[in-house]
């Protein structure tokens, strides 16, 4: 658990001192506690920006656009030759790499089927129209084709048919499909929409930021509402329609019956408590309201207890770190050095 290298040791010490720095605010707000808070927020944001670039902007915008530009200028004959050579090699190998008995059985089953041209074209499309595929690289083209055919259900044992189908495929093949040009327009539209958020920093043009916000909220609401309605309202309401008397093979299951009864009473009385359309002055209404409040209090109490448990867990985690990795880890690191 402890540090293995000197760099790790420095990291552990920084983490330990920052932990103590944050906890020092329990006694008094000091320069150190303020500094640790600022470091925490700064590091979090800095890391978020870097990760977002490498996991979002780079693979989704930068690399596909670079590939698009490169593939526009690639030599058509080079690509078709590379594809022909690879498909020929796969067809010559007769069988695809098989990793288990189940896969062997499946390969036999696939071999028994007739050659399906449409499936063959679909596999070629999936291999050659990848957004990040570099068509100049014959190796990348070969790897992409091999993996696409390996996971496909197309049998290439009849080489003459396969090569005939490939020639047919080349009659309509383009290194960059028409849909990709529209896709580039869509990317530019998305980037411009995203950049509009930055106009919030300029009061004169801040109104522009409403467009991406409306677009984002609109899409989120549009996609999320039907699902949320179904899972958070319909299915929850459905789950509250439960039998008031639960029977088991030995007769009545009193514990389950009490649980179901409690759930129904709780649901109805809490809903009634939040019903403000008329005054609740009669004894029955007041009684129902009081039961509803009791249910709410039990709920809040449980939530509060869970909250304490969670916060304590975080403290335990930090003290565990100080004990195992900082104190014991440092001791063992120097003991090992000596």
């Amino acid at each position: 658990m402890g540090p293995d290298t000197f760099i790790d040791l420095i990291g552990v010490w920084i983490a330990a001192l920052l932990t103590l720095g944050v906890y020092s605010s329990l006694i008094k707000d000091t320069f150190i506690s303020k500094l640790t808070e600022a470091v925490f927020v700064g590091v979090s944001f800095g890391m978020s920006i870097v990760f977002t670039y490498y996991n979002g902007i780079k693979p989704k915008i930068e690399e596909p656009l670079v590939r698009y530009y490169q593939n526009l200028h690639v030599d058509y004959a080079t690509v078709t030759n590379a594809v022909t050579r690879t498909v020929e090699k796969i067809a010559d190998a007769k069988t695809l790499p098989v990793e288990s008995a189940v896969e062997e059985e499946l390969t036999e089953e696939i071999s028994s089927r007739a050659f399906d041209t449409n499936r063959f074209f679909a596999v070629l499309d999936s291999a050659l129209y990848k957004q990040t595929l570099k068509l100049q690289s014959t190796n990348e083209v070969a790897v992409s084709l091999q993996s696409a055919f390996a996971s496909s259900e197309v049998d290439l044992k009849d080489k003459a048919t396969v090569m005939g189908a490939l020639n047919e495929y080349f009659t309509t093949y383009k290194t960059v499909p028409t849909s990709r040009h529209f896709w580039v327009l869509y990317i530019f539209f998305s980037v411009i929409l995203g950049l509009m958020f930055i106009t919030r920093f300029f009061p004169k043009h801040a109104w522009l930021s409403r467009f991406p916000m409306a677009y984002t909220i609109g899409i989120g609401v549009g996609m999320g509402t039907p699902l949320s309605f179904q899972s958070q309202i319909m299915q929850q309401v459905q789950a509250s329609f439960i039998p008031m008397l639960v029977r088991n093979p030995n007769g009545i299951d009193w514990i389950a019956t009490a649980g179901n009864l409690s759930l129904v009473i709780g649901t109805l009385t809490v809903l009634y408590y939040f019903f403000f359309s008329f005054k609740k002055e009669d004894a029955a209404s007041r009684g129902a309201t009081k039961i509803g409040i009791a249910y709410l209090m039990i709920g809040f109490g449980a939530s509060f207890a869970f909250t304490i448990m969670a916060r304590v867990s975080l403290l335990i985690g930090r003290i565990n770190f100080l004990q195992d990795e900082w104190i014991q880890g440092t001791y063992e690191f120097f003991k090992y050095l000596n």
Partner: protein, 321 residues
Amino acid sequence: MLSFWRNNYRVIIYLLTFASVWIGLVMTAKLKINASAATKGLYDALEQLPVTHAAMIAEEEEKLQKLLKDEKADPKAITVLEEHISRAKINTNGVVLLNINYNPGSEAELTPMSMAVCRHAFRRGAKLLINVGYDVMSQPLAQKIISDAALDGRSVDPPYPFRESGVDYLFFGFRPNAFQVYLQMGESITAAYETDYSGRDTSSMPIMRGIKDFSDIDLVVTVSSFVGGPEMWINVGKTKFNKPVASGMTAVSASDYYPYLQSGQLCGLLSGLRGAAEYEALVNVNPAPATRRMWAQLYIHTFAILLIIIGNIEYFLRSKK
């Protein structure tokens, strides 16, 4: 005595809190942990995965036979079903999607839980796909959990051999706009995640042979510290794709999710450090970090109860004066 307490109670309480946690952490005696039904729900779902997977294949084959006999059946539907069955037969032990969605602030509670679930999936021989949710800071945490669990199979009894990235498990990493990405997984997982965490092409990975879209996933486990995180998977995983969903979460949010367990929308629920310790006990993890921390939980909870009693006594003493 009372005046000393009144002047210094904050420092005394902090020191005693610190001491009760510290004493709990140095305790080496074994604590007996009984798993709750909520925790067992997830354990059973993972344990029974090969059986439920085989049952699913049998059901699909029956459906296919019916379609083949039906002259009016859509040929496209037959092709889709045939391909799905072929893929399902490759994943004999099932496919688990683990979604890790928390930041370092919740690491103490949720890392032991995620680690135990990973170890259990590896031991059952299930293919494990891991993605992260809304918080980009989940990525380094998830990466460490997966690589540690893959490397060290001797920390569970019975143990499992070394698990290889791209063959036994695949870590996709972070993608912005998680909800849209999850929905895109319904059409094609490799389109939603063209590359994995380290930039390798996912479609050429051996693990993806037999996994095309969400229909090939048998169980979704989400470990989340964010409000709305488990709901999102209930919406996508359960409601849209009809897959069993289980969730692990911090104790703070656990009480909000028990209704989903009762309605069957969640098949299991791990609540905070206790949920993690229960899962470790079920999987036989050793050393078990969450179980070890339960002693500290026990001491500090006892201390909190004592403080409540002392506070009440002080209140009554004051009101009498």
